[in-house]
Amino acid sequence: MTPRLGPARWAAPLRRGGVGVAALVLACALWELYKLVGPDAGAHLFGASVLPRSDARSMPHVWDVVARMGTPESSAAGSPSVGVAMLHACWFTLRVSVVGWLAGVVGGFALAVVMHGSRIAEAAVYPWVVLSQTVPLIALAPLVVGWGGKIHLGDLVWERWMSVALIASYLAFFPVAVGALRGLQSPQQAHVELFRAQAASPWRTFRSLRLPASVPYVLPALRLGAATAVVGAIVAEVSTGTKGGIGRLIIAYAQSASGDPAKPWAAIVAAGILGLVAAGLVSLLGLGLGRYRIAEVS
C-alpha cells in the first residue's frame, strides 16, 4: 500500500462518490429503458406475472416523480409541496433513528464487551443475539408501545417516538454487537502475547490493543447499524401509527397510488435517500480514524 498523502488522499473518496452518482444515473436509465421497451400491461406466463407493468400508473417517469416533489401535497389551501413534506418527515425520522442508533450502538458494544469478557457469557448470549433478529419487528411494535404506556419514571413521559427509537435500536444493535465482538477478538496471538510479556493489565490491553484493532470491524457495523436503524424506525412508525415520520408518509401517499402514481414513489425515494444519508453520516466518523483502518486494506 502506498502512503495516502497529498491529493491522493481525496482521489479515492471522490472516485467512490462518482461511482455512486453513476450508479444512480444508471438505475434511472434502466427504469426509463424498461418503460420504453416493456409491455404496458406486463407479461404473463400461465397466469403468473413474469414482467411488471410499465404503464404510467405502475411506473411513472423519473422526471414525473421529481416534478411531483415540487407540487403541493394536496389541493387543500396552504398545503406544502411533496418535497417539503418529505423533508419534514425525513428530518423527524432521522432524529428518531439517530436516538435509536445511539442506543443500539451503546447496547451492542456493551454486549460485545460482555461476550468478549467471558467464554461462558459468549456461549450464553450470542444465540440470543442472533435469535433476536428472527422476531418480526411488526410483532414487537405494539408490545413496545404497550410497555411504554406503563412506564412512569419520575417526570419522564414515555412518548410514542421513544417507542419507535427503541424498536430502531433493536435492529441497530445487532450488527454492532457482532462486529464489535469480532473486532475485539481480532488481535493476532503475537500482539496479545506482546502485551502479556509487558505485563499489561486487561484494561490496558483492551484500550491500547483490542479497541484500536476493532475499528476496521466496528466502522462497517456502525454503517450497517445506521441503515437498519432507519429501516427499523420507518417500520416502527408504520406499525405503531406514529405521525410525523416518513413511514407515515409512505402509507398516506400510497393511498393515492392509482390517481397520483408519482406521489408514493416520491415517498419511497425519500426513504431510500434517508438511509443513504444516515449511512453517509456514519462514514464521516471513519475519516478521522484512517490510521486504525490500515489493517483493513493491507
Partner: protein, 296 residues
Amino acid sequence: MSTQIPTGTLAPARPATGLTPAVEARGVGKVFTTRAGAVTALENISLSIAPGEFVSLIGPSGCGKSTLLRLIADLDAPTSGELSVFGKAPRVARENQDYGIAFQQAGLLPWRTVRANIELPLELHGVGRAGRAARATELLELVGLPDFAGHFPHQLSGGMQQRVAIARALAEQPSLLLMDEPFGALDEMTRERMQTELVRICQESQAAVVFVTHSIPEAVFLSDRVVVMSPRPGRIRQVVPITLAGGAERSEELREDTSFFAAVTEVREALHEGHVDRGGSGGTAPTSTPRGVDAR
C-alpha cells in the same frame, strides 16, 4: 536417562558479571495435554545463562526451542522442574520487566507510527512523554531508522519492521533479550546485515540474549554458546561453546574465517549426531549418542 548431558555445569564462555545467572533452568519439562493425549515438548532441560551471555537454541522443528523461550518469558508455565530468571520466578521477572522480547513476526501495531511502536512498552509502564520521546530517539538511532520515526509499519520493508521490533524489545533496557527466530522471515542479505547489527546492539546494551534459530551459521556468528536440541521429546543434546578469531568482536570478515567454519561444522555435527555417523567431531564436549532420536 543416560542421554542427558549435565549442561548446567558447563562454564559460560564469557565470564559472569554477577552472581545470579540471567536464566537458570533445572530439570525443566513441559507436557502439553491435547485431545490426542499428552505430548512431551521438553524433558529435563538444565541450562544456565550468564548475564551478558549470548546463547542460541538450535534444533529441528518440534525440538521445543520456542517452547523453552516461552517458558522463560512466562508465556507458558513448565510442568516440571525449576526455572528462574535473575533468581526470580519467571512470572515475577515478567512483571518486573526484566526481559524484552521479539518474535519471528515483527508484530508492530499497524495504527502506531514507528516511534509510537517503540514507545509502547514505556507507555504501558507509565514513562512520561518526554522520557519516552528521548528513549525512542536513542533507539531509532541505534537501529539506524532515525528518518522513519513518523512512518507507519506498512510503509517499511520486512527488515526495517524487524529492526523496529528489536528497538521495541530494547526500549526498557532489559538485561535479558528473548528472540524467537527474529530474522526467520528475512532474505539472506538482510539477515546477515541484521546479525551484524544485533551483535553491535548487544555489545552496547550488555544484555544477555536467548536466541532461537534454525540457521547454524546464524547461531555460530552471534553466540557465545550454541545449545543444540533434539526433538520428541525436546532435550538438550549438546552445548557447543563458540570461540572465534577476534573473540567478542564479530565482523563481516569473520564469516569467511576458518574458525567460523570450524564452529559451523562442530554445531552441524552435533545436530546430525545419532543420525549420520561421522566419527570424531573434535571432542569438545563429552557426548553420548542419543538413541531413538530423530534428527533431520
